[in-house]
Amino acid sequence: MNITNIETIPGKTIVEHHGVVSGSTVRAKHVGRDIMAGFKNVFGGELKGYTELLAESREEAMQRMTEQAKSLGANAIVNVRFSTSSVAAGAAELYVYGTAVSVQ
């Protein structure tokens, strides 16, 4: 699966559009990580636990988007966008969407 966030796949031509595909995950924070983050809030600096958590969730959202594109018979996704929103206290929604296309 070829994924880009521009309107084309360089070096290839788009032959068919399959519509919008998207994937999302809602993740809550882990208690242990929350306690560590509490400590870090005193000193400042990177919250590695959260960085990893969000990166993993985003990876999963991408996976879901890719599966959806595959089921539509696409072989590439163009113009991908990421978006994050907090839906509830301590939970974040990671959303990724793009256009599924067939390229040659």
Binding site: N2, V42, G44, E46, V80
Partner: protein
Amino acid sequence: MIDLIVFLTLIALGYFVGSYLEKRHYQSIREREIQYASLPTIMLKKPLHPENIKESRLVNGSVVISIDYFKRLMATLRNIFGGNVTSYESLVDRARREAILRMKEDAKDADEIINLRLETSSISKNDQKGTIGSVEVLAYGTALKY
């Protein structure tokens, strides 16, 4: 009395450890920015040499950075008088630069990164004060190989 001692300790810890960590982080950011200076990153959608691109893929980098206790207090005080909240400016600046650097690390073998996008979101702790404790920055783009 004990409350006051705890409060002052937290401020002192936040100030000394926080500013030390920030200085160290900025130094590492500057070093890596020089190291990756040869990988151009642009916000345009058109590549430099559109004819001979061998490979293209989505790359991303993200980081969550928290503010220290002292700076959070200073920002709360700022809310009374208004003006530039410098303590948050450096926080967001560090997060953005770090996210771009991580994206470049992800695209090590690429020759160019086009259509860079930055996204910032706050991860609120939702405590009684309701202040923003940390920000997440995500940088993503399309890495090209000529």
